[in-house]
């Protein structure tokens, strides 16, 4: 049996990669993918605890999160397409209209 700590470490690593990806990437699509990675790291923790403690609640929550994530991905990609159509770029550093 795989110990729960292994799942947690994997989740932490995935979350860390996602975070770094969001912070260092200039491409909005890469940032978006990194955010998905962080989301799934969180899902993994829920599943791991659900299984280890034999409680079904975690599974239920993960299904819910996946559904919402699908919708969120659609909205997010739609936004990115609109941004690209307007500005012909998806480099996040070019979108600084709200600076001082």
């Amino acid at each position: 049996m795989v110990p729960i700590s292994a799942y947690l470490i994997l989740a932490a690593v995935l979350f860390g990669i996602g975070t770094v990806g969001v912070l260092i990437s200039r491409n909005v699509i890469v940032m978006f993918m990194s955010i998905e990675l962080m989301l799934n790291a969180a899902n993994m923790v829920l599943i791991a605890f659900s299984r280890a403690l034999s409680i079904a609640d975690g599974h239920v929550i993960v299904f819910l999160v996946l559904t919402v994530a699908a919708a969120e991905a659609a909205v997010g990609l739609g936004l990115i397409i609109m941004i690209y159509r307007n500005r012909a770029t998806i480099n996040i550093d070019r979108f600084s209209l709200l600076k001082w």
Binding site: D93, S96, K99, W100
Partner: protein
């Protein structure tokens, strides 16, 4: 008839509303008909009420009319109520009678003025306010009238507001009067605080129970009221506004600044005589201020060249006589002089107005002379008024002035020094009044040719009021003949029920040493008549017979003359002591306190936040990744705090 008392003040108010609301939309004939008609009707009602009052038994002569409750708050209960007693009956007769004549006169005098409607609206509003003042049955309503006449005085002095000096004079009158009014208010507060009522009747009734006779409280209250009187009635130290008030149209000077409004202070003291009788110290102050003002103003009158200013100082001086009378507890003598003065001083001013009218608005007596043959009616009437004010026996002024002088000598509150001041003033009065007559009506004609061409006697609407007033100036004194003539002093008897203690006291006083006093009274009377005749002779000698002597005398006394011509530099003194420091202090408040401290504090606070925001706004870089980095570090810090902190 008593239920129509409210009509007396109401009619002029209606006149004011009609003329005031329809300024510039009514023809002049309608304006004058409304203005004169309303005051004339008011006069008729006043006369009928007077006879009603006279029909009542002497000690029940009181007509009261309460219109409605004006203020009712806790113990403060004030009615809008009018009271007609012998004192206010005389006042409404003087106000409506003299006021009516002056309204009629104004129709002629103001005929060419472009603001005809506005003038008569103000004049009617004044008459209304003055009638409220004298008919009020409580201090507060009296104060309403008191302020109302002050307002009208301001409006009418500054009537020709395009002239800088006129609008300045209006402001001066208003501000100086406000200083006095403050004293009146304080006096009213003290009385209300102790008595708990503002009704004249209640206050007079309860005062002996509430106040200790001669005590501090009553003395302070009376002095505060007297401060109000000095403002309104132009006594030292607040007389300075009255001479400047001559900037207004001449009929206004006659009505407001000679015959009626300025006597409000005398009326108020007579009205509250019960209080003053309980405060002998306050009475003494009143007498001293009155006598000093009488002499002081008379000396200034000697050296003025503007015909209206001579009359203005003469008014201040005569008001001083009235206060002298009140101060020696001879209230009825004061009111008597108030009445006769209203007749002859209104006549003098209206006569002066007629002269100014003829002289194409010139007022300097040095440019007049020889007007006697051009203006015969004006000359005759003014001469009568001058004889009256000088106190020539037989004319009204003689009886009232002589009574004041005698009372200031003989009354238990009197003093020989007060008599001496009044006595000298009588001589000075005769001198400057005859100086005015000789300079204006006699001698060579000193005006320029252009003015001379236009000299004409005034129209009928102006001369008829002059003649009526001249008749009143002659016979007005007969109602108050002194006892030693063997006649009854109807005037004193009439006022007897209103005046608290003094008449009986004086009567017993007189009875005790009747013989000695009678001969003394004769002696004093002859002395003052002799002095007056000498003064007239001197004026005749200097300004008629031997004008060169007048010139050389003026040179010899040039120092005194300059001082007098400059009114003892009182205006300059007030300017340096009161006005200048106030201006400096106001500048300090403006430039230092307001601009630097208050504005500086608020602007400093605003720029502080501006600077802080300016420093912080650079954090808003607009770069999403740097926001995200800060967010992550924030999360790490919070998590670290909870994880590590919980151990």
């Amino acid at each position: 008839m008593a239920e129509y008392l409210f009509l007396v003040p109401l009619l002029p108010l209606i006149g004011f509303l009609i003329n005031g609301l329809l300024i510039g939309r009514l023809p002049r004939s309608v304006v004058s008909a409304v203005a004169c008609g309303s005051v004339g009707l008011s006069l008729i009602v006043a006369i009928m009420l007077f006879f009603d009052l006279k029909a009542l038994p002497a000690d029940a002569r009181l007509i009261e009319q309460t219109l409605f409750t004006w203020i009712s708050a806790d113990i403060l209960h004030v009615n809008l109520a009018f009271m007609l007693d012998p004192l206010s009956a005389i006042m409404i007769l003087v106000v409506t009678g003299v006021g009516f004549l002056i309204h009629v006169y104004s129709v002629g005098y103001m005929a060419h003025d472009k603001c005809f409607g506005r003038y008569f609206a103000y004049l009617n509003l004044f008459t209304f306010s003055m009638l409220v003042l004298v008919l009020a049955d409580n201090f507060l309503l009296m104060f309403v009238g008191w302020e109302g006449v002050g307002l009208c005085s301001y409006l009418l002095i500054g009537f020709w507001y395009e002239k800088q000096s006129a609008s300045d004079a209006g402001k001066k009158a208003f501000i100086v009067n406000r200083i006095g009014d403050f004293g009146f208010l304080i006096g009213m507060f003290i009385i209300f605080w102790h008595v708990g009522s503002l009704d004249f009747a209640t206050v007079s009734q309860n005062a002996p129970m509430v106040f200790a006779a001669g005590g501090t409280v009553i003395t302070v209250a009376c002095l505060c009221l007297f401060v109000g009187a000095t403002g309104k009635s132009a006594q030292i130290p607040l007389y300075v506004w009255l001479p400047d008030a001559m900037e207004g149209p001449t009929p206004v000077s006659a009505l407001i600044h000679a015959a009626t409004m300025v006597t409000a202070g005398v009326y108020m003291i007579a009205r509250t005589n019960v209080l003053y009788m309980m405060a002998p110290d306050a009475l003494m102050v009143v007498a001293i201020v009155g006598a000093a003002t009488a002499l002081f103003a008379a000396t200034i009158g000697l050296a003025q060249n503007d015909i209206k200013r001579v009359l203005a100082y003469s008014t201040v001086s005569q008001l001083g006589y009235m206060f002298l009378a009140c101060g020696v507890a001879a209230f009825s003598a004061g009111i008597f002089h108030l009445m006769t003065h209203a007749f002859f001083k209104a006549l003098l001013f209206l006569g002066a107005g007629s002269v100014i009218h003829a002289m194409s608005d010139k007022q300097d007596m040095r440019e007049m002379g020889g007007l006697k043959k051009h203006l015969p009616i004006t000359f005759m009437t003014m001469l009568i008024a001058t004889l009256a004010i000088s106190g020539i026996p037989g004319f009204s002024g003689f009886f009232s002035k002589d009574e004041i002088l005698w009372k200031s000598f003989s009354s238990s509150h009197g003093h020989v020094a007060l008599w001496v001041l009044g006595f000298i003033t009588a001589g000075l009065t005769a001198f400057y009044m005859f100086r005015l007559i000789y300079l204006t009506f006699y001698g060579e004609e000193r005006m320029d040719a252009e003015t001379k061409k236009h000299i004409h006697e005034s129209p009928r609407t102006m001369t008829v009021p002059l003649m009526i007033l001249a008749v009143l100036s002659v016979i007005g004194g007969l109602v108050g003949m002194p006892h030693i003539f063997g006649a009854t002093n109807y005037f004193e008897e009439w006022l007897h029920p209103v005046m608290a203690g003094p008449p009986q006291e004086a009567a017993t006083h007189a009875l005790a040493s009747a013989g000695a006093n009678t001969s003394m009274e004769w002696i004093l009377m002859f002395a003052s008549v002799a002095l007056v005749l000498m003064a007239i002779y001197l004026a005749w000698y200097l300004y008629r017979k031997n004008t060169a002597a007048a010139g050389s005398l003026a040179d010899k006394l040039s120092g005194a003359r300059t001082t007098l011509a400059n009114k003892y530099y009182v205006d300059e003194f007030y300017g340096a002591v009161v006005i200048r420091p106030l201006i400096v202090f106001s500048l300090f408040l403006w430039k230092i306190v307001d601009v630097i401290i208050i504005d500086g504090f608020l602007n400093g606070l605003a720029s502080l936040w501006h600077d802080i925001s300016n420093a912080l706004r650079h954090a808003q870089s607009g770069r999403v990744r740097s926001y995200a980095t800060m967010f992550v570090f924030g999360v790490i810090l919070v998590v670290a705090y909870f994880v590590l902190g919980s151990n």
